[in-house]
Amino acid sequence: MTDPLLRIRDLAVEFSARGVVARAVDGVDLDIGAREIVALVGESGSGKTTLARTLLGLERPTAGGIEFDGSPLPTTVRRLRAYRRRVQLVLQDPTGSLNPRQTVYESVAEGIRIHRMVAKSDGATEIDLVARSLTRSGLRPPENFFLRYPHELSGGQRQRVVIAGAMALEPEVLIADEPVSSLDASIRGEILALLLRLRDEFGLTVLVVTHDLGLAWNIADRIAVMYLGRLVEHGPAERVLSDPQHPYTQALLSVVPEMHHIEPIVLTGETPDPTRIPGGCRFHPRCPALLDGRAEAAGIADVCGTKPMPVLDTARGAAAACWLANPSSS
């Protein structure tokens, strides 16, 4: 791989309250190359949203670091502002992201004014820039949308306005946190197709944070699966989804409702709270491979409960943080 656009190394983000420390992100290595679409997959409580917020400079890492385009993430207000133009965020709920009393034009123009995009462009006016980004996001003809308010739009149109607001700043990276999970089924494909088109036309790099493996299959080049603050499996999307190595990824894939041809592995309980990360492999208390004796048969059952997994090395093509998948290293 050529130099990655975003390089995450040994990242940890902790939150503490009343002496209790929650390790939301607890050792993550991940590189994201230019023009790549990477899906960060995990359930609630896996730390995926904290990781995304840290990438935007909204949370400070406790340890480790993030490099963007070869230099560490800025910390001063002025530099952060410049950085945030280049790395934009799209959230799950477009209704919550838009000001209900602002027209579509105002919503899109706000970022253009803050970042003085008109001065940076070659002779385009503010209206040109707003119209251009609405068109790029599939709202055509743009003039028809200028004076509309969010409540006059459908859910899919609102999400397009949010994406237009982000694209108006000509970012290099788009971080999309569950971009379609609040949208209707028929709209979902259209928004995903838009993300693919923005990558093809403008060389955009996309990090999609999601719990939806179907979405990852639809658009992602690479997948990183996160559990309780760490990546447990990583690799090219086709490889991870057609032949998952980690028992957690296998279970996640088996409960996707479309997959009724495989026996569902429904895990008991829920992701533990990040203030009490289990010792040994952090997945071992819920691991189906330990329950059904596969770990025992491989002679690693003791190791699972005692020896912590090293941080997943994502520099290799595909990898899984499981003693079962890497018997030699246990």
Partner: protein
């Protein structure tokens, strides 16, 4: 034969300052005991309006035509005492947002007790053990009765909502998007609980969702709604895997099968948005978004025809008896 829930030619019309909104335009649907039926469709298609009429929970500006019968009784003409006995006792509802449906300052056990004691004030002595039993039925330890909603996770709260719905031993459960806000693993757990209950208690379940894949995996039969009408109905796996109506086809393709190469870098969706019920397109209401629409689709609203036994479809391209060998 009379079903547990029988909806016949149901119409729901909302009177608003901007005129009348026909949200439901002639829906027929039945659910029998021990059967789980899915109602699929996008926001605004009228599926929640249908659900609200089953417990007569529709807003006061709604006009209802047609009939809704639960256990043979017409819900819309029932007297107040009959209606009280119906709600919780014969039919109960599980709503989407469990966090907003539970009282944040009351222990969940006390909230489950409320409908039980309302229906049978003499149950005071046995209510505690009944709550424990209900919680265990949905896979929660009986001790969780002492928890407040904020101490539970999203999946646990949804289980509490299901336990509450079961409190008065209803025969019919109406679940409106019961897993929409949940993660896949928790969704699988909650769906397991629901389908287990249908089998064990021989309940009738009407499950409403925009996610056809969830209904396909949980229900025995699925009906697909578009713009206030059912456009296709049939056995769940048939509808999901071999859809006949182009709209069902689009809904089904929206959730790709992981591993299906044709879906890689090709997310599938439908252009356009669901129609505004006040300005319904002429002819077939789906024609402006239909990938295979013919010219005459704008003129004639296609009647519902039986493509096969138990397989009604409303599309000109699907002939009567099309599924017969």
């Amino acid at each position: 034969m009379s079903g547990l829930l029988e909806i016949e030619n149901l119409e729901v019309i909302y009177r608003t300052a901007g005129g009348e909104i026909p949200a439901v335009r002639g829906v027929d649907l039945t659910v029998d005991s021990g059967e789980s039926v899915g109602l699929a469709g996008e926001s605004g298609c009228g599926k929640t309006s249908v659900a609200s009429t089953i417990l007569r929970l529709q807003p006061s500006n709604a006009t209802i035509r047609g009939s809704v019968r639960v256990g043979g009784k017409d819900v819309q003409t029932l007297g107040w005492s009959g209606l009280r006995a119906l709600r919780w006792g014969e039919a109960a509802m599980v709503f989407q947002g469990a966090l907003h449906s539970l009282n944040p300052v009351q222990r969940v056990g006390d909230q489950i007790a409320e409908p039980i004691l309302l229906h049978d004030p003499s149950a005071q002595g046995t209510v505690k053990s009944r709550i424990g039993e209900l919680l265990e039925q949905v896979g929660l330890p009986a001790a969780r009765a002492r928890a407040y909603p904020h101490q539970l996770s999203g999946g646990q709260r949804q289980r509490v909502m299901i336990a509450m719905a079961l409190a008065c031993r209803p025969e019919l459960i109406v679940a409106d998007e019961p897993t929409t806000a949940l993660d896949v693993m928790v969704q699988a757990q909650v769906l397991d609980v629901l389908s287990g209950l249908v089998g064990e208690l021989s309940l009738g379940l009407l499950m409403i969702s925009h996610d056809l894949s969830v209904l396909g995996a949980t229900c025995t039969r699925v009906a697909v709604m578009y713009a206030g009408r059912i456009v296709e109905e049939g056995p769940a796996t048939d509808v999901f895997e071999h859809p006949l109506h182009p709209y069902t086809g689009a809904l089904s393709a929206a959730f790709p099968r992981v591993g299906d190469r044709s879906a890689r870098y090709a997310p599938s969706g439908l252009p356009g948005d669901p129609p505004d019920p006040q300005e319904l397109p002429s002819g077939c209401t789906f024609h402006p978004r239909c990938p295979v629409a013919r010219e005459d689709c704008a003129d004639h609203d296609p009647p519902v025809r039986l493509a096969g036994p138990g397989r009604p479809v409303a599309c000109v391209l699907v002939e009567e008896g099309a599924l017969q060998p």
